[in-house]
């Protein structure tokens, strides 16, 4: 699929421009004089690794943060936003990466939260419901406006978030990672909506870590690196390689499967495992699935949202109960063991959502790193400080976390480094099998490559690695074997030389996007 055909450059004027925008926090320069234009009725995508300054720039454009210096020019006039509502009044709205919905309210109430349609006698719920239904129809999503948001899956919640932004008639819509939880079909619908919006003259600013996807929708590409703009081009003139080169400043790939050693014995054996849906519907999200992984082998599990990847990995790790089947690690049946006992036997999980399940925000980097291996430096009831420091130092060195001795607050690290903390914490227990649920979620491409390199190094030393992903490109990196899941079952297995099309076809995903 190619970018949308070039429309006449007549409408090619800038609706919103950043002029020498700089933002400093103390000695840290988040932005160093960025210039860029948002084109009227076009999609402008910002590319850049975590920490490149994308979010800061978007916060400035949407009025959340005021710049240290520089101007924002809206329709040829310099404007100053002192708050997000200032920006909204000028027709700029933003879809944040983190969902900001009230789970206890219905879809309708969320869409109109704070902007209820009022009449003399109260709120016009019927009209709200009608508009909500129309928005859902635009987004081709079969969600009843009265459904509670907490009953929706993550992807649908994101649709609601998008619907809310669409319900405000804005001239400029900023989308920060809108597709991170969407399935391929939903992304396709979103793109259709975006094209529809641009044809009506709405300007879109798009941010995504999913480069290929973003390249399909965008008209203009702006690349940020280290707080400065490094490149700027029309989408028709560029390709993926160009983006990556400008983002990271060098060529690289996500790696290839480690070779030069023989796999060991079977490390993890999953036999006929079933998991029942947590909501109590009785539906099996994982359905009699069997999988064997040998020591030293890297297996990638690919599947769409809702294919059962997360449930499978969490059930194997002991987080969710099995409704049937067995899990065997190095010959021992661990089906009935607690999470702590499974960690002792060498089976660990790096969860999908590192903020919610991976990190303790109130503790330091070091305390997070040592959390899973406290026993290794505790004797006679007391922890040894030097023992702990040794564990922390080794973890920091092995997974290359950029921090000092580990006393920094966990929130001060970038997303990629936070993910490395979660991985480092689990690797510090010296596991035999490591399960990683979407280890690349929300981290930049450089950190992603590092994580994969780290995993292949450990695999070469005999660690069995199972990771799940929703990006096909990642299946084709370090995995020796690609397992495709669809509706709780394995729909296909491939060797390392599989093509993207084969994987996507097996997952039930439309090959044409």
């Amino acid at each position: 699929m190619t970018p949308s055909p070039a429309t006449p450059p007549a409408s090619d004027d800038a609706v919103l421009s950043a002029r020498n925008i700089a933002k400093s926090y103390g000695n840290v320069h988040a932005l160093k004089g960025v210039n860029f234009d948002i084109h009227r009725g076009k999609v402008t995508t910002l590319f850049g690794e975590n920490g490149a300054g994308k979010s800061t720039l978007m916060k400035i454009l949407s009025g959340v943060v005021t710049p240290t210096s520089g101007d924002i020019v809206l329709d040829g006039e310099v404007v100053q936003f002192s708050s997000a509502s200032d920006a909204r009044d000028c027709g700029i709205s933003i879809i944040h990466q983190e969902l900001s919905l009230a789970p206890n309210l219905s879809v309708r109430d969320n869409i109109f939260m704070g902007r209820e349609i009022r009449t003399a006698t109260g709120v016009d719920f019927a009209e709200e419901a009608r508009q909500a239904r129309a928005l859902m129809a635009d987004l081709e999503e079969d969600i009843d406006p009265m459904t509670l948001v907490e009953d929706l899956r993550l992807g649908q919640q994101q649709i609601v978030e998008i619907a809310r932004a669409l319900s405000v008639d804005s001239r400029i819509l900023i989308m920060d990672e809108p597709t991170s939880a969407l399935s391929a079909t939903e992304v396709e619908v979103l793109f259709k909506v975006i094209r529809d919006l641009t044809s009506r003259g709405v300007s879109i600013v798009y941010i995504s870590h999913h480069l290929e996807e973003a390249l399909q929708i965008t008209d203009y590409a702006v690349v940020l690196r280290d707080g400065a703009m490094t490149a700027n081009a029309e989408a028709k003139d560029i390709d993926l390689e160009w983006i990556v080169r400008n983002m990271v400043g060098e060529n690289f790939d996500l790696g290839s499967p480690p070779t030069g050693y023989a796999f060991g014995e079977t490390a993890l054996s999953i036999e006929n495992v079933s998991v029942t849906d947590a909501s109590g519907s009785g539906y099996s999200v994982v359905d009699r699935l069997s999988l064997e992984v040998k020591a030293g082998e890297i297996v990638c599990i690919y599947g769409l949202m809702g294919a059962g990847r997360t449930e499978l990995l969490e059930a194997v790790a002991g987080r969710m109960p099995l409704s049937g089947g067995r899990v065997i690690v190095e010959g021992d049946d661990i089906t009935r063991l607690s999470i702590a006992q499974r960690i002792d036997r060498g089976l660990v999980l790096v969860p999908e959502d590192r903020q919610r399940d991976g990190l303790v925000q109130t503790m330091s980097v070091g305390q997070n790193l040592s959390l899973a291996s406290i026993a290794s430096f505790t004797s006679r009831m007391l922890m040894s400080r030097s023992g702990e420091q040794a564990v922390v130092n080794e973890a920091i060195r092995k997974v290359h976390i950029k921090t000092d001795g580990g006393s920094a607050a966990i929130g001060s690290l970038s997303g990629g480094n936070q993910q490395k903390v979660v991985i480092g914490k689990m690797l510090a227990t010296n596991p035999r099998v490591i399960l990683l649920d979407e280890p690349s979620r929300g981290i930049d491409i450089g950190a992603k490559a590092e994580v994969f390199r780290l995993l292949s190094e450990r695999a070469a030393k005999g660690l069995a690695v199972v990771f799940s992903t929703s990006e096909v490109a990642e299946c084709l990196s370090i995995a020796h074997r690609v397992v495709v899941m669809r509706r709780g079952k394995i729909s296909a297995q491939f060797g390392a030389n599989v093509s993207k099309e084969e994987i996507m076809a097996a997952s039930g995903e439309a090959v044409h996007l």
């Binding site: 988040a30 399940d357 920094a408 607050a409 491409i445």
Partner: protein, 376 residues
């Protein structure tokens, strides 16, 4: 390395300057205590004397011991409303045991020695706490509701045991070998009331447990993020039950000391003390959401409340005003907590640098033994 460009150069230097605002904010409980002592010393000639400090400290000991138990629960992200009732029940049970236990079947009356009474009462506190813990950890009853229910039940049992009356004779008899209950409330070690000694010992043990034991780390991690702790192999349910048991034991110890100080054990003793304990923990800087707080702060909080209310008594202000002042101090403390945590969040996100540099790991959570002593 590919991503090295993304990380801004960081150094811990620019935040090491002397920041009076931050110092006042983080040491607020300590400065508040100093301010209270200075103000009351001016207002009353009787306030600033060693003997008065010792008397006030023995009052503080009751709240302080409850607050140490409460801190553990709050670090876990819970709340324990039952400690006041447990304190009352502990006193009544101690009184009951002192009167002798009649075993009809054997036709004898048992007079357990004091150390047995103390052990049984502590076991009772642990049992009450275990009920709280099991309700909360196993049956997923919200901590507020579970401990509220247990608060009523424990108070009810205390009233039932005495029919609402008070045990006034806790002296024991020399020939029965059960004298010495007054030791807890009246004796002194090197001039320091036993209650205060117990408080200091519990604080030292508490600091050691929180900072140096695996249990302490488990507690901080379950309070900070239970899901992450569980996936890291922390036995989150056991930790939860344990903190309520420890809180119950602290309440029982406080009950013993209080009834010894009063030389009587009444079923209504300790009413609303749970709120004072919560206030002490909050004034000490702990977050009610869990994961943040330490023993040193909690002790300071207890001393702030105790020294303030005793000071108001000494200068002869109506007890109604005391209530107003105590309330104001609590609200102010929570307000400052909010300011502090907001600043902390801002700091970490804005500078993108380490917020607690130049410290080796494991010392980030600062309550430790020597600091515990300063407060007493």
């Amino acid at each position: 390395m590919a991503s090295s460009v993304t990380t801004p150069p960081r150094s811990g230097l620019f935040r090491d300057g002397f920041d009076l605002g931050r110092l006042l904010l983080e040491g607020r409980a300590f400065f508040a205590l100093i301010a209270i002592i200075v103000v009351f010393s001016f207002l009353s000639p009787y306030y600033f004397s060693v003997s008065n400090f010792l008397i006030m400290s023995s009052h503080v000991a009751i709240y302080g011991i409850l607050a140490i138990g409460m801190l553990l629960v709050i670090l876990n992200g819970g709340i324990d409303l039952s400690v006041g009732s447990t304190l009352g029940l502990a006193g009544v049970v101690a009184g009951f045991l002192m009167q002798g236990v009649t075993l009809n079947a054997l036709g004898v009356v048992l007079y357990p020695p004091i150390w047995v009474v103390v052990l049984l009462v502590c076991a009772l506190g642990a049992f009450v706490g275990m009920i709280n813990g099991i309700l909360i950890a196993r049956f997923k009853v919200p901590a507020f509701v579970a401990t509220l229910g247990v608060m009523y039940v424990a108070r009810g049992f205390a009233l039932l045991m005495t029919n609402g009356l008070t045990y006034n004779n806790l002296g024991g008899k020399a020939e029965l070998g059960n004298t010495g209950f007054d030791w807890l409330g009246f004796n002194r070690l090197a001039g320091i009331p036993i209650g205060v000694v117990v408080l200091v010992v519990l604080a030292l043990i508490g600091s050691l447990v929180l900072n140096r034991s695996a249990f302490g780390r488990w507690l901080y991690s379950t309070g900070g993020n239970e899901r992450a702790a569980e996936l890291s192999g922390v036995p989150v349910k056991k930790v939860q039950v344990a903190v309520y048991m420890l809180s119950g034991i602290c309440a029982a110890i406080a009950g013993l000391i209080l009834s010894s100080q009063l030389t009587s054990a009444g079923p209504t003793a300790g009413t609303s003390y749970e709120l004072t304990a919560i206030a002490a923990v909050v004034i000490g800087g702990a977050a009610l959401t869990g994961g943040r707080g330490n023993i040193r702060g909690t002790l300071l909080g207890a001393f702030v409340i105790g020294f303030l209310s005793d000071g108001l008594v000494i200068i002869g202000i109506s007890s109604y005003w005391q209530t107003v002042f105590t309330g104001a101090v609590i609200v102010l403390a929570v307000l400052l907590n909010a300011v502090q945590y907001r600043r902390r969040v801002k700091k970490t996100t804005e500078t993108d640098g380490p917020s607690a540099s130049l410290q080796p790991t494991g010392k980030g959570l600062t309550a430790n033994a020597t600091h515990g002593k300063i407060a007493s």
